[in-house]
Symmetry: D3
Subunit: 156 residues, 6 copies
């Protein structure tokens, strides 16, 4: 059976923290699906197309990683794509408490599903998509926080 | 003097975690008032009537537990109903930090009031009303998270 | 059935934080047993007799509170004295994580047992028996941290 | 070079916790700029003029403290006013995790900037501007939470 | 290249929490080495032979899992056995902070090494080897905390 | 009045995390006393002389920083050397909870004393003296964790 992991999020935009976790997870799985959740009640800064293209561009040479979008419960999408693992990065103790709750609820809904955590690298610990958006919105320099393809797109 | 405790919340909807805390607290008090706060600025998923009826139904045979609704500060409602205790369940360290702040402010406003905490059972640790709403909204199975009366009402 | 709570600890020595939690818990129970655990592998600063007498002295006029010593598992002593509740004060999030673990293990060993938590008052949050011992050992002033009877005994 | 610190926030309204941190920080700096961030997407309860006047009034006799307003990134305002320090109070572990993230991002954007933290006094630990607003909105007594000038203005 | 993970610890004794993490990790790796650290300065309750045999017995039918002992730095043992992953279970936020520190130091010493975390199941969250030893030492029932082989050996 | 800060610790040995905090604190104070606590009940790895010399060597060109040793309560030593500030670095939320307790007790004993916290740089977050000792004891490479003078002394 193929080992398939889901890496769910909004990726608004993808950060170097996401990239670091994904790259380190590649050897563990046969396929990693970066799953962009479509949450109609939450306004995103960047379009779904931009967010998708940026991730595809970063992992262009990496056949293990693919990008998909989904609606509804993450566990239902896992069942649909036959993912038995959810992949998440951990930055802080607050992150951990939040992720543990989500991970345990996911197992209540789908007992065969497991969450695999990797640590964020220390230099990326404070970086999140919401910090990036805040810095970008105010004209600050995000080049140490996001992949070059995002920097290039946003400085055009 | 009767020992009266308030168990405040939105109960949108009541969860099995709430039920477990309430049941274990019954021997400690002469009366426990489940107090549904009416917060006009916060949109609820279930009507006040539904939320009230579900709690009444779960504790139908339990004369110690009654259900009331209130506006305004929790401490003011405590004074009105002569409650000297607030009852709360604790799930995580993040919960604790939040509850400690609320509990200390309540004592600044009403020094005779004390908060009594019980632990949530481990299997209900990740369950909260907001998780239940999210799972329900997306068509997931909430039967391990809420009392049977809620499951029945929502599957009609 | 009488409501009996155990308040376990080393009480080496009792602090004003302990006293505050105990006083506020008195209305909740028919009997509160302050249970001094005898842990032969842990060296105490004050003798068992001193520790016992100080607590008895503080609660001399309070028939609900009594002092006992015990060996072995706290849950076994609870069974012996028919205590269905353990009483604990909570100061910090680190405290909470520790107490939650103990409380959950106690329920694995004795499912009818529940732990009831009260908040430490903010001014006593940093005070613990080990801090008191450290200050006392170094000749500092502990009069804002322990009951007067302890201050008197130690300044003789 | 003058040592200039920024104390950023919304101050909606200033609390006794803020005042305590500021007063204790005065000896450390040549100038402390209380910097009221203007965040157009966030609705404030009190007008910018009220918030500014209250802080000016509290620190009227204190030449080190001045009040300014700003838009955009805090680091950009620091550069503009030549502040090399950001001053913050710390209340809880949750506060700390949040502040550490902000502090580290600020250093990514402006490596010469450092954040200096003081502890909130225990009695003010649970007090925050959002708690004050909630108590005030519901007709509660905020006189132990905010400076007298705010109490006076709001009881008119 | 084979994917080899180290699961380091004292295993004094192995708990059902360890077993649950290991079983769920088996599909992720080609080999998992349960590595019993020999720490001469720390007194263990059970002999190295007992601890080793218990783990071997639990995973007797599982060729992916093997048991080894080691001295010195965990990263050095990883290099020796060609493990590029360390496997750890996460129970609480306090665990996480500790593990993050260890994981980051390990990467400072061996940048190709990554730590993979799985969540402990909620029912095993409060169970640790030190809790088991404490309960066992005091004659309590550890059968819900450790594998049957340990229960059998200790009840002989 | 001169602004004097104490930076207390065991410094067994000094780490690059300590150095980073000290260097960034120099502009804030007229004098910073690195105060090595002599705790006879705690066995140190390196001699008091070594520890002192290493710190002196690192800050040789820095007149603001001096090194002293002390016995007894930190607050008593602060009074003796007329220090009104204690300087501490903060790494994790667990650190913060511990430091907050110590800081609040110090203010109970000496109300004029304040603790000033700086953040540890992310890359040094996992580094502590006890980690350094553990790595050194096991023959690992500590050159990215301690000042060059310590590396040189220990590789002789």
């Amino acid at each position: 059976m193929k080992k398939i992991a889901l890496f769910p999020g909004s990726f608004d935009p993808i950060t170097l923290g996401h990239v670091s976790v994904l790259k380190r997870a590649i050897p563990l799985f046969d396929k990693i699906i970066v799953a962009i959740g479509i949450n109609s009640s939450k306004q995103q800064m960047f379009s779904l197309e931009q967010r998708t293209n940026w991730i595809r561009s970063v992992f262009a040479g990496e056949p293990v990683v693919e990008v998909q979008t989904y609606n509804g419960l993450t566990v239902d999408f896992c069942k649909k794509v036959e993912a038995r693992y959810i992949l998440r990065g951990l930055r802080t103790a607050a992150d951990f408490e939040f992720e543990r709750g989500i991970g345990q609820v996911n197992r209540m809904l789908y007992p065969d599903l497991d969450t695999v955590f990797l640590l964020t690298e220390p230099k990326f610990t404070p970086v999140s998509s919401s910090i990036v958006r805040d810095v970008y919105r105010n004209g600050g320099d995000i080049s140490s926080m996001v992949p070059q393809v995002v920097v290039d797109a946003l400085s055009e």
